[in-house]
C-alpha cells in the first residue's frame, strides 16, 4: 500500500504509539496515509479505537510475526 509518511513505534508501549501517531497525523494533510509499525500487542485494539474516535480511517491492520502494521488515512 502507498503511504505518505511512516512512523516507527516499535519497542514503544501504551500510550506512546497512539500519541506519536496523533502527532504525525497532525503534520499531514487530509487524505494522506500514515504507515505505523508497532510491537505493542495492545496497539491493535488501541488503533482501532483511536481511528473510530478521531474519524481518521484505519485502512488496514496486519500482523507480521511480532510486529504490527497499520495504515491510517488522515481525515
Amino acid at each position: 500500500m502507498n503511504f505518505d509518511k511512516e512512523l516507527d513505534a516499535k519497542g514503544l508501549n501504551c500510550p506512546l504509539p497512539i500519541l506519536r501517531a496523533k502527532k504525525a497525523l497532525a503534520e499531514m494533510t487530509s487524505g494522506q496515509v500514515l504507515r505505523i509499525m508497532a510491537t505493542d500487542p495492545g496497539s491493535v485494539k488501541d488503533f482501532a479505537a483511536f481511528a473510530k474516535q478521531t474519524g481518521n480511517e484505519l485502512l488496514s491492520t496486519a500482523e507480521k510475526g511480532k510486529e504490527y502494521e497499520f495504515f491510517i488515512k488522515r481525515k
Binding site: G11, P15, I18, L19, T54
Partner: protein
C-alpha cells in the same frame, strides 16, 4: 367540545414523530459533542504518576477536552523537576519487585514476597532508592514513557493543569515551585462544576 379529542390526537402525533426523529437527533448531538474528562490526581509517587498522565495524554490524542486537578500529594507532579519521584514497596504488598536484568529465572523472582516488606524494608536504609532505581530500569526496558515525557506530551496536547490552592498553602509551596503551564489555582467549588459537565470524571 372537540378540544380534548384534538389535544389527544395532537399529543399522539407528537409522540409518534418524536419516537421517529429523536433517536437520530440524539445520536447527532452526541456525535457533535467533544467528549470531556476531569481527573483528580492525589498521589505523588512514581507509580501513581502514571494513571493521570497516561489517561490524560491519550484522551487528548482522541480529541477530548481534559483537565487534571492536582491536590494533596498530587501537587508533586506539577513541580518543575519531577525526575526524582520515588516508589515505595513499603506497605505496598501488591507491588511486584523484580530484577530488570539477569537470566529469566532470576528476573521472575518477586522479591517483595521474600523480603517481608514492613519488617525488613523499613530498617534497610536506601531501600526506597533501590526500588525506585529498579522500577525506572523496568520502565525503560519495556518501552514505557517516563513521567517527565508523559507530562510534557499531556501539556503539548492541551491538557489543562489545575493546582489546588488549599494544598499549595497547606504544604507551604509557592506557585514558583510549579511549572508555568499550570494556568489555574482554585478550589473544590471551581472544580466540581467542571466535573459535573464532564463525560468522564476519575479520582486517582
Amino acid at each position: 367540545m372537540n378540544m380534548p379529542t384534538d389535544q389527544a390526537a395532537l399529543d399522539a402525533l407528537i409522540r409518534q414523530r418524536l419516537d421517529e426523529i429523536l433517536p437520530q437527533k440524539l445520536e447527532e448531538l452526541k456525535a457533535a459533542k467533544t467528549p470531556s474528562m476531569t481527573i483528580i490526581a492525589t498521589k505523588g509517587t512514581l507509580d501513581w504518576a502514571y494513571p493521570p498522565f497516561i489517561l490524560a495524554s491519550t484522551a487528548a490524542a482522541l480529541g477530548w477536552n481534559v483537565s487534571i486537578f492536582f491536590t494533596f500529594y498530587g501537587l508533586n507532579l506539577l513541580k518543575k523537576d519531577i525526575s526524582d519521584l520515588k516508589v515505595s514497596p513499603l506497605g505496598n504488598p501488591g507491588m511486584p519487585m523484580k530484577m530488570p536484568f539477569g537470566p529469566g529465572w532470576f528476573k521472575s523472582i518477586d522479591w517483595n514476597k521474600f523480603l517481608m516488606p514492613n519488617l525488613i524494608q523499613s530498617n534497610l536504609p536506601g531501600f526506597e532508592s533501590v526500588a525506585t532505581m529498579l522500577m525506572k530500569q523496568t520502565i525503560k526496558n519495556n518501552g514505557v514513557a517516563d513521567i517527565p515525557e508523559l507530562r510534557s506530551l499531556s501539556i503539548e496536547a492541551g491538557v489543562n493543569m489545575i493546582g489546588c490552592q488549599m494544598t499549595v498553602d497547606l504544604f507551604g509551596f509557592t506557585r514558583d515551585d510549579f511549572i508555568p503551564e499550570v494556568k489555574e489555582y482554585c478550589g473544590a467549588a471551581t472544580f466540581l462544576p467542571m466535573a459535573q459537565q464532564a463525560d468522564v470524571s476519575l479520582y486517582m
